[in-house]
Symmetry: C2
Subunit: 317 residues, 2 copies
């Protein structure tokens, strides 16, 4: 079977399990949890966990619960982040706090975290797996905290930005990859190399997200990009643009507060004219090459992982 | 050393460890986490974990991380619940979402959950301990969800109320007791009996909380009772009062929305005149007797646990 077909099959299996994961509880919780987990996410993280296990000679069955745990953990962060960022759309659907209310969304996230931990604890878990999962949870909280801190900072360096996305996005993608390797029982060094591969893929993924937020149609992203601009989020492209011409970009941001379309058009035009979009594309390619480099020489079958990073490279939403 | 002195000593040790538990991270997280964990909580749950371990022949040292984990888990629920309930005061201090904002409070709770899990994973943890901890997390979410559902229900039965507080409060107190027993390595039956003792203590504790919310001075409780009345929370005393004379109590609740003092005085007077406060006191005593009964015949030294339930019985805040 081709890897593309395999992905489609694995995705269906993941979706089927997620759809029925929490049915027995108060309706004000089971409904929003079901709503979130029936969303049309790309399921990239659990796919990576399974691919990582298979690359290391493990099986999908052994690692399936851990893969689901990562996906539920990821969705927990989305539900809570959407409250904080006041996003109204996620994966093309209303966000939980917007459809219900903030309280329901907080509880929905908390319950999902418990579900994620329970899935991980059901797997052929070692102490190490739980340990990195818990550390991953803290990393993602810290990344989001720093991201929020950036909103009110006038200037953020690219180094600071990278540290933030490594915590907020990279750490969890690294975790997804590492869980697969650990479950397959490969040596410590291989586990860490695969984790580092995942972290770099996560870093590239986030810069790409920043890129797509400015250059894709909002509906294709399935989330509203409006909030990021309005909130003054420091993305890869915005940091470059602010560094080049702070007063012009700040002026465009002010315009966007009043006339959103006009302000965002000014920012897009500036980014294109200055070639910042090309810088971003180049950066993504360099990071993904670095990621693939981490796999070189490992005693594993790298085919699916290389396919995965290539998939990330070419994603359009 | 007397048990009272021991409690004071243990509480100091708990507070010292909690004060320094999370120092290395983004300030927008370490500050509010430090603020919460430096609060003046009674530390009843970790004390129970330690007493339970000691009752079973275990030591404080072996169970200390797990005890702290329970306290941090408890405080996580308070931070998130206070957002949902719009409470402004907790333990005599401003709540996190009120002092900072909702986003900070959501993240603070999430980070605390990671800290709690990390503490538990550091202890001489068995798979079983993590398992019941994770289930406890879901139970407390479900309890809070049902509590919120009750706010918009006209009538709630005492049975429904009991199920709710067993999830929201009892489960975690049971967990605190059970973790101590498990860490001491006693048999399954004893662990479960001690857990059931804790659950009943938790149930009594919650009814007492309901009582104190109406009959204590707000500042003594260290939390604002205003919100519970305004939100239409279904407490033990309110359910009794509503069952006896729904129209009168609903009228007083409406009054409280406009003139809080007048409304609450009407409710207090009604509850006293009808002897509902006495019913609550009696209920607490009966449940605590049931709790102590769970310990009878166990191959443990029950002294500290019996002291603990007596402490709960006589608490004034």
């Amino acid at each position: 079977m081709s890897i593309a077909k395999l992905i489609s099959q694995y995705r269906d299996e993941i979706n089927n399990r997620l759809a029925n994961i929490y049915l027995d509880g108060p309706k004000s919780l089971t409904k929003p949890v079901g709503y979130v987990l029936n969303g049309s996410g790309k399921r990239l993280r659990p796919l990576l966990t399974i691919f990582s296990a298979e690359a290391c000679g493990g099986s999908k069955e052994e690692v399936f619960s851990a893969a689901l745990a990562v996906e539920v953990l990821h969705n927990f962060t989305l539900v809570h982040d959407d409250i904080m960022d006041q996003d109204h759309i996620r994966h093309g659907k209303e966000t939980v706090h917007h459809k219900w209310d903030d309280g329901i969304a907080i509880l929905t996230g908390d319950a999902m975290l418990s579900i994620a931990l329970n899935l991980l604890n059901q797997s052929n878990v070692q102490h190490a797996q739980m340990n990195i999962f818990i550390k991953g949870l803290l990393a993602v909280c810290e990344g989001q905290a720093i991201d929020k801190e950036f909103e009110t900072k006038n200037s953020v360096t690219l180094d600071e930005y990278q540290q933030m996305i490594d915590l907020k996005t990279g750490h969890m993608v690294g975790l997804a990859a590492e869980l697969g390797a650990i479950s397959a029982g490969v040596d410590f060094k291989t586990c860490h190399a695969i984790r580092d591969y995942g972290r770099l893929v996560g870093r590239a993924f986030q810069i790409q997200d920043d890129y797509l937020e400015i250059f894709s149609v909002s509906s294709m992203m399935g989330k509203s990009l409006r909030s990021d601009i309005i909130l003054g989020k420091k993305t890869f492209l915005m940091i470059h643009a602010l560094e080049k011409n702070g007063s012009r970009i700040n002026h465009a941001l002010k315009t966007a507060q009043i006339d959103y379309k006009k302000g965002i058009r000014e920012i897009r035009d500036y980014i294109e004219n200055e070639g910042i979009n090309e810088i971003a594309r180049e950066e993504i390619n360099v990071i993904l090459k670095l990621a693939d480099g981490k796999l070189r020489g490992l005693p594993i079958d790298t085919e699916k992982l290389l396919y995965f990073s290539d998939l990330i490279k070419h994603r359009g939403h």
